[in-house]
Amino acid sequence: MPGRSRDAELARREQLFGERYAALVRRADHLFARLMVVQWVFGVLLAVLLSPQAWAGKTHVIHHHIYIAVVLGGVLSAVPVALVVLRPGWVVTRMTIACAQMLWSALLIHLSGGRIETHFHIFVSLAFLTVYRDWRVFVPATLVIVVDHVTRQLFWPESVFAVLAPEPWRFLEHTGWIVFEEVVLIISCIGARREMRAAAGQQAASEALDRLEKEALARELAIAASIQTALLPRNTDLRGLECAATMITASSVGGDYYEFLPVPGGCWIGIGDVAGHGLQAGLVMLQAQSALEALILSQPDAEPMLLLTIANRVIFENVRNRLGSDAYITLSLLRYHEDGRIVSAGAHEEALVWRASSGRCERVPVEGTWLGVIPEIGDATVQITLTLEVDDLLVLYTDGIIEARGGHGEIFGLDRVAQLVEAHAAGSVADIRDRVLGAVAAWAGAVLEDDMTIMVLRHVGVAPAV
């Protein structure tokens, strides 16, 4: 609901602002803690350099200023530093620092013998306090200044006003200049906080948008995955063949495809991979599947090369010209005959054939071109024929199997697939399939970077009719 999402965005804005402001205040606290130490060292140095000793003739003792700088200055800095170390970010910590900074002004003025230049410390300190971006710190700072000035006006006016008999309102003139500076600083603080909150709001809005986009993408991927899986063949009961096939979809990359389509005297087998991901890849695969199924059902005895060539025209027109996409498909289309003969066309991965006679795997190279790249592929398409003997195995797969990367970056490779097939060829086709998938999953770990599809087919032949 828009209202609820707006509330969530505002809450996130306040959370971000709070986190950033807390971090800023902690940084400022630590800055002032260091400043407290620096001021203490400076005060001691000032006392040592300007008034190290009090004299009476040739005899001398340590000057009071040294004790004042070391002890009073030390206590003055110690409590704010302790607060910063033990309670950073607390509002009382920065209020105390504001007081301490003003008291340091008074102490430095005292140690420097009332030098007018040392009074600049007050105005500089007020400016420093703006790093908190909190106007409240000026309240205790101003109170310290006002109390100091009123007291001096009453008991020692020349120490601050530089005249012997200032007018009764003279402290107001000094305070007025302080307030004048503080008004500007407070406006600056409020503006800076507003900017911080606006920046937090922008990030909250950006995060909300990202979240919406991710949710939309997730929905799209879910639709794409449902398209992929919904179109997979349910019937694997094929004459002359035992078969086991599985497709495992990755989270963000989709487009694998396999097909079994029984026809009189055998069946058609397809395996392919649409380049791309998401809903668009799913749509392209849907088109390819529909086109091929329609072609196969209308011409069950046609050559695979012919059907591929026609399907390519449909896919090229739809993908390139209508969808405006540059997606393409790697696809092998095989026509299985019950006598073990297989005619294949298309440019997908090499097929593996395990020969029962030798107990070894053979690689069957593929030649040709991808679908959807160019409008006519007739000249580039090659058709090959191979024959399976009884109990021979045919293993088809997509690149997600052989290109799965281990933690060290090495790909799984076709050799490992062949070794697994050879090792477990005596088992059922489902067992061989599961062992390959298990080995790849163990190799790649938890993250599946690409769809994985594997088809394991055993030619068992057909008993002659009696």
């Binding site: 000793q53 009071h64 008291l103 008074a106 530089a162």
Partner: protein, 210 residues
């Protein structure tokens, strides 16, 4: 952990802050008292220009004499105020700064930055006062002590010309000294803020030497 619990306890911090503020007020009061406590004043300040002094009295002009301890940090403010006083009085006074050197101190002991500062003021002549003999004549005990005599040798002002210990700025002492010079108003007394010119032992030795 008790320490951790204490750290997180707000009341602990408020109590600590209360103690801290109290310490600041008490410390401030102490520094203020230290700053405003004048040195002892001699009751033996001659009302007329002392007869035995080697300092020449100006003809037709007021004469100002300031006694300083060369290493007294507070007297920098006194010399700075003297500089302002000389500016304010526009050459209507002949000023002498006597820098006291204890009788057993080495040569040049009194040649400090304070000497140089005083010597740099137009219209001021700086002298060494060995053993504080001139200080005794002018009745000075503390560094920064000033006397102003009129052209006839009559005492117009005695005391300090700073408002506090080592503190520059307008103050009653300088104003009174200035009024004495410019308008001949006499018998003003101001507090002196500064180190003792001589220790008690040195005062005895100087007295014996005489």
């Amino acid at each position: 952990m008790p320490a951790r619990r204490l750290r997180d306890h707000v009341v602990f911090w408020y109590v600590l802050l209360g103690a801290w503020l109290t310490a600041m007020v008490v410390g401030g009061g102490y520094t203020w008292r230290d700053k405003l406590t004048p040195a002892a004043i001699s009751a033996d300040v001659p009302e007329q220009w002392p007869a035995g002094t080697t300092i020449p009295r100006a003809d037709g002009l007021a004469t100002l004499v300031m006694l300083v301890h060369p290493r007294c940090p507070c007297s920098r403010a006194s010399v700075a105020e003297l500089s302002r006083l000389m500016t304010d009085t526009h050459g209507r006074v002949d000023a002498h700064v006597l820098v006291v050197r204890p009788i057993d101190a080495s040569e040049q002991w009194e040649r400090t930055d304070l000497w140089d500062r005083a010597a740099a003021i137009p219209g001021v002549t700086v002298h060494t006062d060995i053993g504080g003999q001139e200080a005794r004549l002018f009745g000075a005990i503390a560094s920064g002590h000033v006397v102003v005599h009129d052209a006839n040798g009559r005492l117009l002002f005695r005391g300090g010309i700073t408002g506090a210990r080592g503190h520059e700025g307008d103050n009653p002492g300088r104003s009174q000294a200035s009024a004495a010079i410019l308008r001949g108003l006499g018998r003003a007394v101001g507090p002196t803020f500064g180190c003792e010119l001589l220790s008690a032992e040195e005062l005895v030795r100087t007295s014996d030497a005489r």
